[in-house]
Amino acid sequence: MHSPAPVSTRRRFLGGLGAAALLGPARAEDATPTTATEGTLVAQPFYGLHQAGIVTPQPAASLYVAFDVLAERRGELPHLFRTLSERLAFLTQGGTVPDVHPQLPPRDSGILGPTVLPDNLTATLSVGASLFDYRFGLARARPRHLGPMERFSNDALDPAQCHGDLLIQFCSNTAETNIHALRDVLKATPGLLAPRWKIEGFLPPHVVKTMGADTVRNMLGFKDGTANLDVRDPRLMDRYVWVGPGQEEPAWAVGGSYQVVRIIRTLVERWDRTPLGEQEAIIGRHKGSGAPLKRGHERDVPDYAADPDGETVSLAAHIRLANPRLPGTEGSLILRRSYNYSRGLTAAGQLDMGLLFVCYQADLSAGFVTVQNRLSGEGLEEYIRPIGGGYFFALPGTPRPGNYLGDGLLAAV
């Protein structure tokens, strides 16, 4: 038996393996997180005002998969979105897999065994700009900032790893749970979806357990995410993450969030041959402690006002460009939710690894695009190469069984 880890009462536990089959999808007034655990019985809510997987604490494993929608008619979309919602509701809450006659292919891949445990899974469904092209007549319902991801000056985007009609972000405790969920979705949507690109990310489980107290390091060896928005503050989330009324967005989009996914290769061999002092100057933090340069603690706030010429933290340092902490730049705050990735070698035999950068914001233009334009030309560019990803819009949550993710969008036009 698994020993339950301490979690908030908002979380839903399956009362042991036998009861798993009896439970329907959990309900939640929202998806606000509390503490992370790595228990296989932990279920994140599926129904709510917002989708889970955005302000939910990050578990150790993620899988991002973009899809082309193969449906040819608008009339097929409700079936597609309803099916996706049903599968994602099941997968995130768990249950037993129906029996099948041995002469027929099993309905479930079986990689989690006959009982699917939720394992902290969230499955967040987003739409890409191309879904709003000529095919389905959705153009008038497009979120106003949603377009194809532009090429920034340092980008070397590979079209085969970019964009997509839909994107699902699977996050859970294990790679197997994410893969199981993906295979279930593919099995349920033949003829409707074709995977376009996929990438898996990871975080160190021991750091995940203390999320909030400790910060994950990226493949450059630096702490990444220290100055992130506090997801436990609903007012911050409403201001910076969730699309609200009065933003001149389509009504259906309220409660959703702009999602940016960037596959950023880090040229680690070269980085590892760079002097420590130079690495720290490029980032603007001490490598060991994570503290801003000349400060003692990771969470110390750099005093840029006292350092106008960048003598301590260079004006071109990553942390200073990303968040200048100047009046007028607070509007560009974004919620980062990145993972590390590593997957084989490049053609030159170098390590293909880096940052699977993910962020959420209520306003794509004020958020990521503004930050990225500020970062353009930073010293770090020599060591990083964005090669894929895209702009997406994470759909608002769906309140209850009977509704489904995307129903508001489809009803809007």
């Binding site: 082309d68 193969l70 449906a71 040819e72 099948v100 006659h101 002469q103 027929l104 292919p105 099995k187 033949p190 003829g191 409707l192 074709a194």
Partner: protein, 296 residues
């Protein structure tokens, strides 16, 4: 000139029967239809067709396979003759048509892996890739004809290829195709399309992938059509037939004026995606075919 293999009289008869079957395939033969109630889209339990009907369908399929193996020998001999005569354009023209009969029955031919290794393996399955001396067969000739643009020095390889097709025909003629394999051919051909045809890996030098695509679909549909009268679930049958029709209609868009197909390079990513839809549906649906017929 290579010797063109001649058909033995009994083979000619088998071919004639198979052709007759093909012509009549649009309608189930009288007496085959089974009166059974409709079942749900995904059967919880397969229905078991009466043995004689299944045996008749399997016998008809065996006849079809032998006829295709015969046609393969014949068409390959024409192709090989053009290669040996140094007729580059003619050899290129005959390359894809020669392979079509083989592509219709590929999973049955695959029961002889040693033979397939010499007939139809791509260079990347060998240690030295395309330079590997073991890289022979159709794709070795394809590379020479379409990439190097020459028939120079291909005589021996071409002659060996012709000989292998005769061996395949003789082995197939003596083969009792296991029922599970025969029925499984319907989905195995679709899996082949999904795995290597959509990507354009199969005919990477000639870009004649759509010929293979068409032949795979034809071969799959023959099996399905022979078994259709034994299938109780009319919704399933209708869905599968819609998917076949969808693929056929899409393929028809890429026909060339001479009755062949355009280069696969002409298809955009979106065109290829459009093919993925019905192919994936067929793959899922046909994966239940053996189970629906209660065949282990």
């Amino acid at each position: 000139m290579p010797e063109i293999p001649r058909l033995a009289p009994d083979r000619r008869r088998a071919a004639a029967v198979a052709v007759a079957l093909m012509v009549g395939l649009g309608d189930p033969r009288p007496g085959w239809a089974l009166e059974q109630p409709d079942s749900p889209p995904r059967p919880a339990r397969p229905s078991r067709p009466a043995a004689p009907e299944l045996a008749a369908a399997l016998a008809a399929y065996r006849t079809y396979v032998v006829a295709q193996a015969d046609a393969f020998v014949r068409e390959t001999a024409r192709f090989v003759a053009a290669v040996q005569a140094g007729q580059l354009a003619e050899a290129r023209r005959l390359y894809a048509p020669a392979r079509a009969p083989y592509e219709r029955i590929e999973p049955v031919a695959a029961l002889f892996p040693d033979l397939i290794k010499r007939l139809d393996v791509r260079g990347d399955e060998f240690e030295l890739r395309e330079r590997d001396p073991a890289f022979v067969g159709f794709h070795r000739l394809e590379m020479a004809l379409f990439t190097h643009g020459s028939t120079e020095g291909l005589g021996e390889a071409a002659e060996r290829l012709a000989a292998e097709t005769v061996i395949l025909r003789d082995r197939v003629a003596g083969l009792a195709i296991p029922p599970a394999k025969a029925v499984g051919t319907a989905s195995a051909l679709i899996e082949g399309i999904a795995a290597t045809k959509i990507s354009g890996e199969e005919e990477r030098y000639s870009r004649t992938d759509l010929w293979d695509f068409q032949a795979n679909i034809e071969g799959s549909k023959v099996v399905f059509t022979l078994l259709r009268p034994l299938l109780a679930d009319r919704d399933f049958v209708a869905r599968v037939e819609r998917s076949y029709k969808r693929v056929e209609d899409l393929l028809a868009r890429y026909r060339s004026p001479d009755g062949g197909f355009q280069s696969y390079d002409n298809l955009t990513a979106r065109d290829r995606n459009a093919l993925k839809g019905p192919i994936t549906l067929l793959a899922e649906d046909l994966s239940t075919l053996r189970g629906r017929l209660g065949i282990d």
